[in-house]
């Protein structure tokens, strides 16, 4: 079974994010790049499924991004992925969800997979639209928000998390799965994993390897980022002066009642 996990390389979520006002793209220089946190959960799911399948199961991580960030993928290899594939091409810059997903799908058709595991959301673009678009371009079933998954007899059985509980869904392979955070905490890369990761292959694909029949990058993107702004600064809270604790409790109660919170 060949499991492929998509992993976006994103600016460290703990760093301050800046958007270049001219290009309207996220500034990626001068900040550390990390594996998109949700995608670490997807990788954890893939590694668990590989361990359970035993034998010939493999895990490939796939990313689309600038080649300069290639080494960031070592962490995924250190966590236990067997190999990595990166689609890197300057002509992809400025791709929107549709162009991104189209290009990724063409590359994923080339690498091939039985099960494609995708994180639910990125920490930078945060559209959450890539998984659905990918499944569409690949022509495979899309099962989202999995908290458990099992491959039996060539089919995928998934427990999906919903607001009110969970559902059990079955589908044929090949399929696309997105993971919920409840699937399991991403493991630490072991030292052996870190030492072994440098020997694992990272293959680079460019657009000329794919043969696309529509444009990608800025030209192939119908959506454009027009404007952006930081979230509004929260105003000062309301301060009330009271004589004692009882009066304070009353004041708070009245306030909550006024807001219909009690």
């Amino acid at each position: 079974m060949k499991i492929v996990v998509t992993v976006k390389l994103v600016p460290d979520p703990n760093s301050e994010k800046k958007i270049d006002p001219n290009t309207k793209r996220l500034v990626r220089t001068g900040v550390e790049t990390v594996l998109n946190p949700y995608d670490e959960y997807a990788l954890e799911a893939a590694l668990q499924l590989k361990e359970r399948a035993g034998g010939d199961a493999t895990v490939t991580v796939f990313t689309m991004g600038p080649e300069a960030l290639k080494e960031t993928l070592r962490k995924a290899l250190a966590m236990g992925a067997d190999e990595a594939v990166m689609l890197a091409d300057a002509a992809l810059e400025g791709s929107d969800v549709s162009a991104t997903s189209y290009a990724m799908a063409q590359a994923l058709k080339k690498t091939g997979f039985d099960l494609l595991i995708v994180g639910g959301l990125t920490d930078d673009g945060s559209t959450g639209a890539v998984p659905g678009a990918l499944a569409e371009y690949l022509g495979v079933p899309c099962i989202t928000n999995a908290r458990k998954a099992e491959v039996t007899g060539g089919a995928l059985q998934v427990e999906r998390e919903t607001d009110s509980g969970y559902q059990t869904v079955r589908g044929p392979l090949p399929a696309l799965l997105t993971t919920a955070l409840t699937f399991g905490e991403p493991r630490y890369a072991s030292l052996k994993g870190i030492m072994g990761a440098k020997k694992k292959p990272i293959a680079i694909l460019t657009l000329s390897d794919l043969g696309l029949d529509r444009p990608v990058g800025t030209d192939g993107s119908k959506t454009q980022l027009v404007n952006f702004a930081p979230p509004p600064v929260r105003g000062k809270g309301k301060t009330i002066e009271v004589a004692d604790a009882t009066a304070g409790a009353h004041a708070i109660f009245d306030f909550l009642k006024e807001k219909k919170l009690v």
Binding site: Y188, A189, L191, K192, I194, M195, A197, K198
Partner: protein, 382 residues
């Protein structure tokens, strides 16, 4: 000249940092209060490969270098000094002697499970009357009927009495040399050796979650082949072990200082006085600047010593410089970090109060400040 860490060294440091901040730091206060040895954390560190970090894979280790090892100890000490000394003493004092001096058979038998972190091991040099003057060993071992019979006492031995301790390697006088001086050898003493007992844990000011005990040997017997490497090499062996240990003690000190700095920085931004965060007072911000400046200084010294060791060069002087400077620096940093906390720093629930207590041993263990100066004076030809 190049100051970049390799990708691998960076990855190991970042793994150690994630592990320390997520798994170790939240437990540090309780472990200190309860004097509880963290068996589960040690098991996790073993699984990740920390307990055998600098040993080759063929001996159960992770195959890392000294730079990575020092960075890992530093990151763990930044979260909790007790957990860090448990790892550092195990690697540098427990397992390293087997790696450096053991016969192939001893490596297979002892080093492999130690590097895998399945067992801990102590190194017993210090005695009630032989600390700085470690050559003044009183413990004696006599060879009778193919067995060493050992009598004596060892003091302050780390990792010697946990449920997973496999034994301790001790220095003992095993005879008289040709020149009339005592012959010192290192003897391998497994836990189940008859006549070998451990005291209860000492009650300590710091490193309270680490295991430190007194060992006594009353006609304790081990087979003749339980000498580490060649007989009579004990003195030279322990000097070499202490040289390497200085790098990890420097790392422990710098890690603790960094942890104290982290606490002070965060607190200085939260705590308000006279209508502003105290970090806005120059007296406080300058303290923080000085702390970080000195930490950077010590880190460079430590990395330099570790790098020299990895290059197979003579690293003894660099390691002594680093240990001496880092030990004393950790004192200055915890002191100022606590000062920044005001009265709250004196309260047990603030991590800085534990760090303040954990600091002092950095200036005593594996060679006091005075002994470091003695070593350096000798190296400088004084």
């Amino acid at each position: 000249m190049n100051f970049d860490l390799t990708d691998e060294q960076k990855a190991i440091q970042s793994l150690a940092r994630d592990f320390a901040q997520n798994e170790v730091k939240p437990r540090a206060e309780e472990m200190d209060r309860e004097e509880a040895f963290p068996y589960d954390l040690v098991a996790k560190m073993a699984e990740l490969g920390f307990m055998g970090l600098p040993f080759p894979e063929e001996y159960g280790g992770a195959g890392g270098d000294t730079v990575s090892y020092a960075l890992a100890v530093m990151e763990i000490a930044r979260a909790d000094a007790s957990t860090a000394i448990t790892m550092a003493a195990h690697v540098s004092l427990g397992a390293t002697p087997f790696y450096l001096f053991g016969t192939e058979e001893q490596k297979q038998k002892y080093l492999v499970p130690l590097a895998q972190g399945k067992k801990l091991w102590g190194f017993g040099l210090t005695e009630p009357n032989a600390g700085s003057d470690a050559g003044n060993v009183q413990t004696k071992a006599a060879l009778r009927d193919g067995k060493w019979t050992i009598n004596g006492t060892k003091a302050f031995i780390t990792n010697s009495g946990t449920d997973i301790s496999g034994g301790t390697t001790i220095t003992a006088v095993t005879g008289t040399r040709g020149d009339g001086k005592p012959e010192i050898s290192n003897l391998i003493v497994p836990q189940e050796t008859p006549g070998f007992t451990r005291s209860k844990k000492y009650r300590k000011m710091g490193w309270r979650a680490s295991d430190t005990r007194e060992l006594s040997f009353m006609d304790a017997t081990v087979p003749e082949d339980h000498v580490l490497g060649p007989r009579g090499e004990g003195y030279r062996q322990f000097l070499t072990i202490l040289d390497g240990g200085r790098i990890s003690v420097a790392a422990l000190s710098i890690g603790l200082a960094l942890g104290a700095y982290d606490e002070a920085l965060a607190y200085s931004k939260e705590r308000h006085a006279f209508g502003r965060p105290i970090s806005k007072f120059q007296a406080i911000s300058f303290k923080l600047v000085d702390m970080l400046t000195e930490i950077e200084h010590a880190k460079l010294m430590m990395l330099r010593a570790a790098w020299e060791k990895d290059q197979g060069r003579d690293y003894v002087q660099a390691a002594s410089f680093a240990k001496l400077f880092a030990g004393e620096l950790s004192h200055r940093v915890v002191n100022e970090a606590l000062q920044i906390h005001g009265g709250y720093g004196f309260m047990d629930e603030y991590p800085i109060s534990r760090m303040y207590r954990d600091q002092k041993i950095n200036e005593i263990g594996e060679g006091t400040n005075e002994v470091q100066r003695l070593v350096l004076a000798r190296l400088m030809g004084l």
